[in-house]
Structure formats: C-alpha cells, structure tokens
C-alpha cells in the first residue's frame, strides 16, 4: 500500500464526483414529448441511492493517465445509462421478475412492462450518442472514442452482460462463476478500460485495467452477498426468503466461508493488476481505495 493512501479521502472524492455526474445525467435526459418515456428513463437513471461506481471508476482511470474529467464525463454518463438499461431489462417479469430495485419499485412496476422495455432500448443508444455529441474532440481523438464505443457495446452485448443474464436464467454447470463475471465483472472491467482508452493508455495498461475492473466488480458483488447472508442469519434482512437469484451467488453455492476466501483472492488480484501502474504516483490511489471499499465497506455513500 502506498503511503498516500492513508491521507486519501475516498468518501469525499466519490461524493464530489457523484454530485457532478448526477447533474450531468439530469441535463442529459430532459423531458420532452412523449413525456412518459423520458420519465421512465429518468426514474431509473436518476434513482436515489445509485453509487455511480462505473462512472467514478471511469473518471479515476482516465485521471490516472493524465486525462481530464471533462474528457471522461460523457463516457462516464454513458456507462451509467447502459448500466441502467441493462438493470431495467434484468428486472422484467420474463427475466428476474424483480418488483424492486435499490429499495424502490422497479421500472416496469411503475411504468409498465412495455415502457420498461422501451426505456432500456432508448438508454443504450442514448449512451453512445452522448459520447459522440458531448466529448470534446480536442481532448479525445476520434480513434479513441471509437474504441470506447466498441468496448461498451461489447460489454453489454451477447458475450458480455446479456450472456451473464442468459446463463443466470438458464443455469448449468459452473453457472455461478460465469454469471458473476459477466453480470458484475463486465461493468467494472468496461468502466476502468474506458477511462484508460480515453486517456490513451497503452495496450499493456489496458490489460491491467481489464483485470483490475473485473476483479473489483465481482468482489463488490461477492461481499454484498456475504453481507446479505449475515443479515439474513441474524433475522434482520427485509429481502424475500428463497428469492430465485439466491442459488446463483457465491454464498448460495459455496457458503459464506468459501465466498470470503474468494473475496480475498479477488482483492489480491485487483491490487496485483495495479502493481504495474505505480509509476503514475498518487493518481493510482483512488483505484486502490475502490478495492478496499468493495471489500470492507468502510463507510456508506450518501448524497
């Protein structure tokens, strides 16, 4: 661990960025005719309690290589849009059939299944469009933006998050590892990689960000499952018993102890990926602190 990390205040860094990102997202989806679709999109994208982990990680990775926040913000917002789109579709009755999300009714519960599908269908392209129309090309050359678009499209597509969702529904041997990687690792990987691409990181550095982001994404989910299991065993959980997703988490399949050891491996793997980036000095500290946050949850993000 670097000496600077003790002084680095992740909570302030994160909450400051959340404020800016929320403001930009609010501006990115103004309500027009036909109102209902914009309301449905805004409902999920601007939901209270969103931690904005993908955009914050994207900004931190961009800043690591000397890129500016202005260069990263449009892509950061796009990540949040496509992430929201994917969650809206995952919650649908024909998918996970989840009536709630982050403690609020899920999108289709409020707007209907048809609007929820269309809100997702509109948020995916809005993400791409936002990158094209809002990124200052004097800060980011077009070739880099094309790589960013391809990266996001790959991450949400048929071999990425959609594949994770499919195996989550379908099951099968070793499904849990595949689902965790694709449903939760993919967004972390894509977020870190996009930040690096925007700032012109080398191929080797991009590989490191890939490994790092994927490990942090899965780590966050494994720890969430462990915490949920502990709450449940102490009788404090308000989640439905026997929810069908339960069997597909590490905890559900391997038990709490094995899940904790998986989490330790992931933490080590994420930090190892950052080893080769220490030449960037204290700018790498935010990325280290995300790993510890994902593992320890030292504070709550409120805004």
């Amino acid at each position: 661990t670097l000496p600077m990390s003790a002084q680095f205040d992740l909570k302030t860094y994160w909450t400051t960025l959340i404020k800016e990102i929320n403001h930009k997202l609010d501006e990115a989806i103004p309500v027009q005719y036909p109102h209902q679709i914009y309301e449905a999109m805004r409902y999920s994208v601007l939901a209270d309690g969103a931690k904005r982990a993908p955009p914050v990680m994207c900004v931190a990775a961009c800043e690591l290589f000397g890129g500016s926040r202005q260069a990263a913000f449009p892509t950061a917002c796009a990540l949040e849009m496509v992430h929201a789109a994917s969650l809206i579709h995952d919650d649908l009755p024909c998918m996970d059939d989840d009536p709630s999300r982050r403690g609020l009714p899920s999108n289709h519960t409020v707007f209907g299944v048809d609007m929820a599908i269309l809100a997702g269908d509109a948020l995916f392209p809005l993400g791409f469009r936002h990158i094209v129309s809002h990124t200052p090309t004097d800060l980011v050359p077009e070739t880099r933006l094309l790589k960013v678009i391809a990266e996001i499209a790959r991450a949400v597509g048929s071999t990425g998050m959609a594949a994770g969702q499919f195996i989550d529904l379908e099951g099968g041997p070793n499904a849990v590892d595949f689902v965790q990687e694709k449903k939760f690792g993919e967004m972390g990987e894509c977020s870190a990689v996009c930040g690096g691409l925007l700032a012109g990181a080398t191929d080797e550095e991009i590989q490191r960000l890939r490994m790092y982001g994927r490990s942090v994404g899965v780590l966050y989910q494994v720890i969430s499952d462990v915490l949920e299991a502990k709450l449940e065993s102490s009788g404090k959980s308000d989640k439905d018993e026997g929810k069908k997703k339960k069997g597909k988490s590490y905890v559900g399949v391997y038990g709490v102890e094995k899940a904790i050891s998986v989490a330790e491996d992931l933490r080590a793997q994420a930090k190892k990926a950052l080893d080769g980036l220490e030449k960037y000095g204290e700018r790498v500290v935010p990325l280290y602190s995300f790993v510890d946050y994902a593992a320890d949850r030292g504070f709550s993000i409120d805004h």
């Binding site: 027009q32 036909p34 209902q36 679709i37 914009y38 999109m41 789109a85 994917s86 579709h89 649908l92 024909c94 998918m95 209907g112 299944v113 048809d114 609007m115 599908i117 269309l118 997702g120 269908d121 509109a122 948020l123 995916f124 392209p125 809005l126 791409f128 469009r129 094209v132 129309s133 090309t137 050359p141 077009e142 070739t143 933006l145 094309l146 790589k147 678009i149 391809a150 996001i152 499209a153 790959r154 949400v156 597509g157 048929s158 071999t159 959609a162 594949a163 969702q165 499919f166 195996i167 529904l169 379908e170």
Partner: protein
C-alpha cells in the same frame, strides 16, 4: 458484365436488387457468428437472417455509391441498420407490445426462443450494431465513422424508433388521433431508421455536407412513403401475401392513412411523396442516382 448493366440507359433494377441482396445476406450471415452462449446468438441469427427485403441496407449502399464511395465502405453500416431494424421488430412483437405471432412468414422470435431470450437477443443486436460498425468499417476516416455512430444512435431512441413506438402504443384504441400524431408515429417509427440508412451511406461514402442533407431529405420522403404504402397494403392484402398478420391495424383499431384520409387520398399522398423524394436527387448525375430512384419506386409500388 455488371458495370455495363448499371451504366446502360435502362437501369436493370431487378438484377441490381438480386446482386445487392446476395451481398447483404452474405455480409449479415458473416457478421453474427454463433459464440457462447449459443442460444442468444442463434436467436439473433434467427431473426436477422429471416429474409427481409433488406431495403435499409440497400439504401445505405446505394447512397454510399451515389456520393462516390465503394460498397465496402458502407457494408458494415448496412448490416448495422438491418440489425437495428431486426431488434426493433423482435421487441415490438413481444406479448407486452404488439403481441405478434408471425413475422416475415415465420413464428416470431419470442414464440421460438421465449420472451427472456427475445429481449436479450434484441438488446444484443442493438449493442452489436454499434460494435460492428466501429470495428468492421474499413477505409473511412474515424471522424466519419464517429458521425455515423451518432446518426445511428439518434435514429433508435427517444428521437427515433422508441418515440414512435411509445406514441403508437398510447394511441392504439383511441379514436381522436389526428394526422399530426399519425405522422409523428411514422416519422419516428419508420422514417428515422430509413433516414439513418441513407445518411450513414452518404457519410461513409465521403459525401459533402450538402450531399448528405439532400439525401437526408430524400430519405424523409421515402420513409413516410414506406409507411403510407404499408398502411394501404394492410387493408388491401391478405396475411399470406404479406407474410404477416393482415388487417391487424383495423382489428386493433389503429389509426392509419387509409382510415384517416380514405384509400384514394392515401394513394395520392403516396404518389406525391415519391415525386418529392425524386426531386431531392435532381442535382445528382441521373445515371448514378438510378438505384435510389428505383428503390423509391420499389417502396411505392411493392405488393408486400
């Protein structure tokens, strides 16, 4: 020889259509391969390769060639617009939307693969369209590819396909739908992607700003034309002739051009739109513009 065929006075549209359709079908087949997990990719291919008329990809390639580009510059974009068209059909056919069992003469995607896979196959085609246009386009400046991405994205969301479908859903069953609202539905639901198809071809083929705007106006006319003709066919043809459920607009009490202005007036409107479309091409070399003129006629006079 193909070249003399296109250069000859009588443009052989049928040969042109066959040649381009083969080219496009082959490109689409190559674009989406069966990867892991196989089911999603099979579902994507099932609808993408179901044998549509490929009007959008043809428009894309024709516009590219009209401004001096090579077909290869536009083929990934041509595939991308067909992927977007296909994904919107898959999602529109879902039980919670239009609830259609039949599409292009075959069971709809969710009938074969289930609703969950149909949603994911649509999402995957949407994402892949962008990945493909970015990674497979060759011989075009990055700034032009990026502009094409922006145009394509605009045509799908709340300023395109989705907006049209939202207003369409909320208008169904209502008796007070006016011409303005009907036009909003079709400009967004049909014309936006046809416009994107043409504009993408023009941008990727190296067109000037004026050329792109001329072709954009051409595309807007034929986009609306496409829908007016669709509405006319829905009341005049059988399901068998159409390869989809006929008379559905009447059955679901949808507002259509024939219903709103009468069949004769709707036909007149279609003729006017075709004429307006062709006027936009008057500054181009007539020889080179013949594929787009023939495509406009094809859209106007098609029987299914």
């Amino acid at each position: 020889e193909k070249k003399t065929q296109i250069d000859s006075d009588v443009f052989n549209f049928k040969a042109y259509m066959v040649e381009k359709a083969n080219l496009i079908n082959q490109a689409l087949d190559d674009s989406v391969s069966v990867k892991n997990p196989p089911t999603i990719h099979k579902a994507m291919r099932y609808s993408l390769l179901a044998g549509g008329k490929r009007v959008r990809p043809m428009l894309c390639i024709a516009a590219c060639e009209l401004v001096g580009g090579r077909p290869a510059n536009a083929i990934p974009a041509a595939c991308a617009v067909e992927m977007i068209h296909t994904m919107s059909l898959i999602h529109d056919d879902l039980p919670c939307m239009d609830n259609d069992d039949l599409r292009r003469g075959k069971p709809t995607n969710h009938k074969v693969f289930g609703e969950d896979v149909a949603v994911l196959a649509g999402d995957s085609l949407l994402a892949f369209a962008f990945e493909y246009i970015v990674t497979a386009t060759a011989g075009v400046a990055p700034a032009r590819v990026l502009a094409a991405v922006g145009e394509l994205a605009k045509s799908i969301g709340t300023e395109g396909l989705v907006a049209g479908q939202v207003v369409d859903i909320s208008s169904t069953g209502k008796s007070d739908i006016g011409l303005d609202q009907l036009e909003f539905i079709h400009i967004h639901k049909t014309a936006a992607l046809l416009e994107a198809s043409v504009v993408l071809g023009a941008i990727l083929g190296g067109g000037t700003e004026q050329e792109v705007e001329k072709l954009r106006r051409f595309a807007r006319c034929i986009g609306l034309l496409f829908q007016v003709v669709d509405d006319i066919l829905d009341v005049t043809k059988s399901s068998e002739e159409l390869g989809k459920t006929a008379g559905k607009d009447l059955a679901t009490d949808k507002t259509t051009y024939p219903k709103l202005m009468g069949l004769d007036k709707a036909r007149e409107f279609a003729n006017q739109l075709n004429k307006d479309a062709k006027e936009q091409l008057s500054d181009f070399d007539p020889q080179k513009a013949s594929p787009l003129i023939a495509l406009a006629d094809y859209i106007a006079y098609r029987q299914n």
